[in-house]
Amino acid sequence: MAQNGTSVSIQDLSLSFGVVTVLETLNLDVAEGEFIVLLGPSGCGKSTLLNCIAGLLDVSEGSIFIKGKNVTWEEPKDRGIGMVFQSYALYPQMTVEKNLSFGLRVAGTPKDEIAKRIARAAEILQIEPLLQRKPAALSGGQRQRVAIGRALVRDVDVFLFDEPLSNLDAKLRAELRVEIKLLHRKLQNTMIYVTHDQIEAMTLADRIAVMKGGVIQQLDAPQTIYNRPVNRFVAGFLGSPAMNFIDGQAETGATAAFKTGNVSIPLARYAFDAAGNSSGPCVFGIRPEHVALGEAANAMPFAIDAAVEIVEPMGSDTLVWTKLGGQNFSFRVEAEKTLRNGEPIRIGFDPARASLFDSQSGNRM
């Protein structure tokens, strides 16, 4: 990927409405051509950040640079951005063609240039047959395609997506997700994408910024965030089914171990974070798919006997609930595996794939 220089740079950005602080001295650099996803629960400030980048909200402090130019005080149209909204926000009284050309007509673009750009956008998004229709006569997926086209015709440097797929049904969402990824590969534009859907974030992003309470918790490649979350919030937010969390105590020394009830998990293979604690009350986290069953469990550095409590078949695989050290614990097995309730089983995992979080701060240990 051609990544030369910074496309969008946010420096010490703060935003507060009266006494409520939505964003707090936030810094973020987005590289040219990068696909970055802002991920977080509702109310975390991700959409607010996107509106600040678009120029639809005035910032309280800090500055925003797009393509090296300070655009903090610029109007949205002068920032070189295109935006796609969750509710499509198509102009209901205009045909698709007029919707696409509105921004260009406002800017006074020559007619033949407008026609050329619309033809190109319509071809890329395959909406040529829809050009003369009104938005009300389109399906949800078609509307969102037109909305993307509206950003496309303006030939912008940066695309901003504000939960564009959240109004679509699951099947369409998966289809358009792939299309957006293809579009990014074809255009090589910088894209900033806001979502609360961790699957969208994992599949689309070059880098994910996980946000909570107006602060970026972790900014990294999807795999890193998934495998080495910096704190308990990030660990719990990504992954479905969610990571198992077991409360207990970490002990250091020659035989470093995590203890909960009468279970002791050796931590010799766990890579402690250099900056974090290494002992004291903590939470042990392991993802359901990193747990092995039966013969495979015995080959793991840690294995224990347990009993099946509940089985949740999900089609492609099955989630099994049991107890570990008296606390709820789930793991994944292939769908072919048939387990009965109460059946004794042996489970095991490699603590190297686990995550340990300080009970107090929630930070990675």
Binding site: E75, A89, V106, R150
Partner: protein
């Protein structure tokens, strides 16, 4: 009513007379006592309002000798449109005997500009208050809505002083200004609430597309405002047409609207009281709002019911 757990799952009481028929398809509808009661009430209510209308119409088509017989409900024996023509052209208001027609034209001259100006101002107000909030916008809106509850009588005297100091008292522009001002609270409220239901993302998208205050208003908001504009037109036309108080105070004798003229015709005390002419004149005056309701009633309901606009 207590229904045991077993009777609860039994079919409804109508079922036995279709013994052996398993429930299938739409449930058969029965006329219940409640339904009959509702219809009876509606018929009575309709008659209550229609009987006076009927009497007005038949009386206006009778000659004076027939009216003197006193058969109020009888249809006209020899129908005549003379009272209508008299009401329009010759009925006397005080000393002038030109009928209602000058009042009609005055009312048109007052209503048309007042409706147009007040709706233009109110739609811009509502749009600005919704999408371009500025410091004190909410306070202004609060004051405006409060204005809807100020009794007219309280402000008449200050308004007379104010208008006469700028030389607009008892003139056509004066009455138009008064109607525009008094339409502002309710119309602004109407438009603001309509625009507040429009997704704000639509406005943001237009901003990103580079449109400014007026372009967003004219190209995007106005085309969507047809239903609410129809509501506003109906409210204003009927309100201003039916107005009596402002007309008699602010319009001046030469611009008196139809309602004032009607009052003068009906209350003229010289000579015989021409009931048929009075009835015809009243129907003529009420015809405009009536017509507006008949033509646009469907739109009225649609506009009031128009909530969120799906884009």
């Amino acid at each position: 009513m207590t229904v045991g757990p077993i009777t609860a799952i039994q079919p409804p009481r109508e079922a036995p007379d279709q013994a052996g028929v398993a429930p299938f398809g739409p449930k058969p509808r029965r006329i219940s006592a409640g339904r009959i009661g509702i219809y009876a009430f509606l018929v009575v209510a309709a008659l209550f309002f229609l009987i006076p209308v009927y009497i007005m119409i038949v009386t206006s088509l009778k000659g004076m000798p027939e009216i003197r017989l006193g058969h109020l409900f009888n249809p006209p024996g020899e129908p005549t449109f003379q009272p209508w023509a008299d009401a329009w052209l010759h009925a006397c208001t005080g000393r002038d005997c030109n009928g209602l027609s000058p009042g009609f034209y005055n009312s048109v001259k007052i209503t048309l500009p007042s409706v147009i100006i007040s709706i233009i101002c109110a739609s811009i107000n509502g749009y600005a208050l919704t999408f371009w909030p500025y410091k004190g916008a909410n306070l202004l809106f609060g004051l405006l809505v409060f204005g809807a509850f100020v009794p007219y009588q309280v402000v008449i005297y200050p308004l007379i002083i104010g208008l006469s100091s700028v030389g607009l008292f008892a003139s056509l522009p004066g009455i138009i200004i008064v109607h525009t001002i008094f339409g502002m609270p309710i119309l602004t409220l109407l438009f603001r609430n309509f625009y507040a239901a429009i997704p704000v993302e639509l406005f943001k998208a237009a901003r990103v597309d580079g449109a400014g205050f007026w372009r967003i208003f004219f190209y995007i908001m106005l085309p969507m405002s047809v239903p609410i504009t129809v509501v506003a037109v109906i409210l204003q036309v009927t309100g201003i047409w039916n107005d009596f108080l402002f007309g008699i105070v602010f319009a001046g004798r030469s611009n008196w609207p139809m309602t004032v003229q009607l009052n003068n015709i009906v209350n003229t005390t010289t000579g015989v009281r021409e009931y048929n002419v009075n009835m015809a004149a009243t129907i003529l005056t009420a015809a405009v709002p009536l017509l507006i309701y008949f033509i646009s009633g469907r739109w009225f309901v649609r506009g009031i019911a128009a909530g969120a606009v799906k884009g």
